[in-house]
Amino acid sequence: MAFEYAPAPQSRAIVDIAPSYGLFIDGEFVEGTSGELRKTISPASEEVLAEYTQAGAEDVDRAVRAARRAFPAWSALPGAERAKYLFRIARIVQERSRELAVLETLDNGKPIRETRDFDLPTVAAHFFYYAGWADKLPYAGFGPDPRPLGVAGQIIPWNFPLMMLAWKIAPALATGNTVVLKPAETTPLSALFFADVCRQAGLPRGVVNIVTGDGATGRALVEHPDINKIAFTGSTAVGKGIARAVAGTDRRLSLELGGKAANVVFDDAPIDQAVEGIVTGIFFNQGHVCCAGSRLLVQESVAEEVLESLKRRMATLRVGDPLDKNTDIGAINSAEQLARIRALADTGEAEGAERWSPACELPGSGFWFAPTLFTGVTQAHRIAREEIFGPVLSVLTFRTPAEAVEKANNTPYGLSAGVWTEKGSRILWMADRLRAGVVWANTFNRFDPSSPFGGYKESGYGREGGRHGLEAYLDV
């Protein structure tokens, strides 16, 4: 008899989703001017979770004006006072972490194991970390009295909704800015719940404003004349558009865009852990990760052994109900994203790469894509060049370290890379040559608030996290 894990669903009773949400402006929820509502669904079941407001240009203007009004008092507060609010937010996030984890899993489709063990702890850690900086800014290396920029417009993606919010809001508030944040159109709920966390923490009105909506809302925010800073995380195409929109103005801009990271496995790697790292690199969060290790570069002398182990490991991945505590891979975030992943995977086959997926049953409703491996991929294939943003791994081989570097760098992106070898000197040699903002050695997709994150080339500019992350919100 086999050891079949019985369903272990996380109860959703802990989260109370309202039928409809307004915009969070100047410390309270208000209706949008046009009255237009959108629906947000659970990608695992296509069930409508709630309606939310499509903010128009007038609503964005109201939010920016509220943030502007709040700015003088907020930026004049002693750093230690701002820190108190941030510490309070961090603690409330911890206290409400189970509720927020369930909410995020419902709205995003990612497994509860990840929201519970990764997203929420990282969110709280980020607020704790930047709370600690608020009264130490003179020692951050940006002069004796670094000043905030003013009102920051922040646009975040759907892959880590609350975590991206934390990466944006925590450093902005610690440095004395006020913010208007727009969450992604498919995942607005955790940002709206965060608005409630701000109220609970007693944060002064207008310091944090949340406007929801689609790309038009984002555009209104980017083009608003009274914004001092735009911070955007998302696709390279939209990022380029934003860069064009702010060109010629005095608005600051930081961009965290796409990636096509190489995960480089040498023949002297710790193979079992490398296989885990490959799996974490590409299948974590359904591959909806800008720094995903979507190109596996494996030394030809161990390629067969590594691929065999990888396939065996992939066969144990549990795909299904994101609320089940034993689920490893949840739902694709939207029908649109699923269509894009399917289209790119099909070009992989059409261009001659060999496609493999473990036998796995996918649920009937919702958006699903089985973990997929392509072998026989070359640098010329689209699946080796374009960001798929899904659970699809392209496998290429190399012969020498120099060839590994050359292939790893041969991409318009440069967000992250991984190196697997037991040889310390080779790790350092590789790290010196890889053109990527983050290089992981014998691990992948590890994040810490104290470590700066950001890209080279078309992966964007500016850094988030760490002391470096303060610079994006200071007038230096």
């Binding site: 008899m1 086999a2 050891f3 079949e4 894990y5 019985a6 369903p7 272990a8 194991r113 063990d117 002297d268 790697a269 710790p270 193979i271 079992d272 852990q273 885990e276 790292g277 144990t316 505590k325 034993n326 037991e422 014998n442 691990t443």
Partner: protein, 330 residues
């Protein structure tokens, strides 16, 4: 390549095919040091991640009974008496007197001089007699003493022998010496009728200290003919841990893939709760796979674990915790 059990007659032939890597000290060293390294952080992270599996209802019932059936119920004390061993044997045969559906344990594990007592108590029950041997737990004795210790236990009726390796020799790099000792003890497990007691080889992973050493010791023992590899004696500060067990599961899995020989695994020491035992079963399930999920290929070396499993079993069937006075103390 068809699978053969490590204790079967065909395993020797498979191992003979690997003889070139064990032929000399230098060949064996090159082979063991050529095994892939272990990244400690990654190994521990994987073990911890598998520890978050949520095993409920029917899966839990299955796991609890499976875990009970895999226990080598152990007493290895200077104060062991025939009375103690008889009581433990009775407990092993019928762990829950109030519930005949509770399975028996796999074996009763004792010192060699207690084997006759256990043998008598367990005859006809299906529960095996396991005996530690080879100057357990330190292994600090000459080879003749170790072999005599083994032979005595086998002739007294032990079904299984749990030997210890000489950690001093291993740490000094004398791999061939450790290899030859295991081979010699395996030979001493043979009975006059041609059958053999099954041999479990204990590494004392807490003393080997590094994960690389544990992987090397695993391959060394399997190449020398171990039927089971076992983490610990239970007599040192660090005993079985989930990462070490995960690593040894990878070793038996890889050895099977390379040779077709299936070797068993026994974590021992420090596994006290049902929750821990279930985590180990998850490690087995998702690393070596289903084929190892039987008492033939996976054992727990434990004593207090059994009562916690029984209490959880009662809780699952009645919905209530009954408390320690509703399981027997032996």
């Amino acid at each position: 390549m068809p699978t053969v059990p490590a204790y079967g007659p065909d395993a020797a032939g498979r191992l003979a095919e690997m003889a070139d890597v064990t032929a000399s000290d230098s060949a064996l060293r090159r082979f063991l040091h050529g095994l892939p390294g272990v990244d400690a952080v990654g190994l521990q992270a994987r073990a911890a991640a598998l520890g978050t599996r949520s095993i409920k209802t029917s899966a839990k019932a299955y796991a609890l009974d499976l875990a009970i059936s895999m226990i080598d119920l152990t007493t290895l004390e200077g104060a062991d008496t025939p009375g103690k061993v008889r009581a433990l044997s009775a407990k092993g045969v019928r762990p829950d007197p109030t519930d005949p559906t509770a399975p028996s344990v796999a074996a009763i594990c004792v010192y060699p001089d207690m084997v006759p007592v256990a043998r008598k108590a367990l005859d006809g029950t299906g529960v095996k007699v396991a005996s530690v041997a080879t100057a357990f737990p330190s292994g600090r004795a000459g080879l003749p003493v170790k072999l005599a210790d083994t032979a005595e236990a086998v002739s007294a009726g032990a079904d299984e022998i749990d030997m210890v390796i000489d950690r001093g020799a291993f740490l000094a790099g004398r791999y061939r010496e450790v290899f030859e000792t295991i081979e010699a003890v395996k030979a001493a497990c043979r009975r006059p009728d041609g059958t053999s007691a099954h041999l479990k080889v204990i590494f004392e992973t807490g003393e080997l200290s590094t994960y690389d050493n544990v992987r090397r010791a695993s391959w060394l023992a399997m190449l020398a003919g171990a039927d089971f590899i076992k983490t610990s004696t239970g007599k040192v500060a660090v005993n079985a841990t989930p990462p070490v067990t995960l690593l040894m599961l990878e070793a038996v899995r890889d050895f099977h893939a390379a040779t077709g020989v299936r070797v068993g695994l026994k974590p021992a020491g420090g596994i006290r709760t049902a929750k821990d035992a279930i985590k180990y079963l998850v490690l087995v399930n998702e690393t070596a796979g289903e084929a190892w999920l039987t008492a033939d290929w996976f054992r727990f070396g434990a004593s207090s674990l059994l009562n916690d499993l029984l209490m959880q079993r009662q809780k699952l069937s009645t919905g209530r915790y009954s408390g320690p006075d509703y399981v027997t103390v032996d």
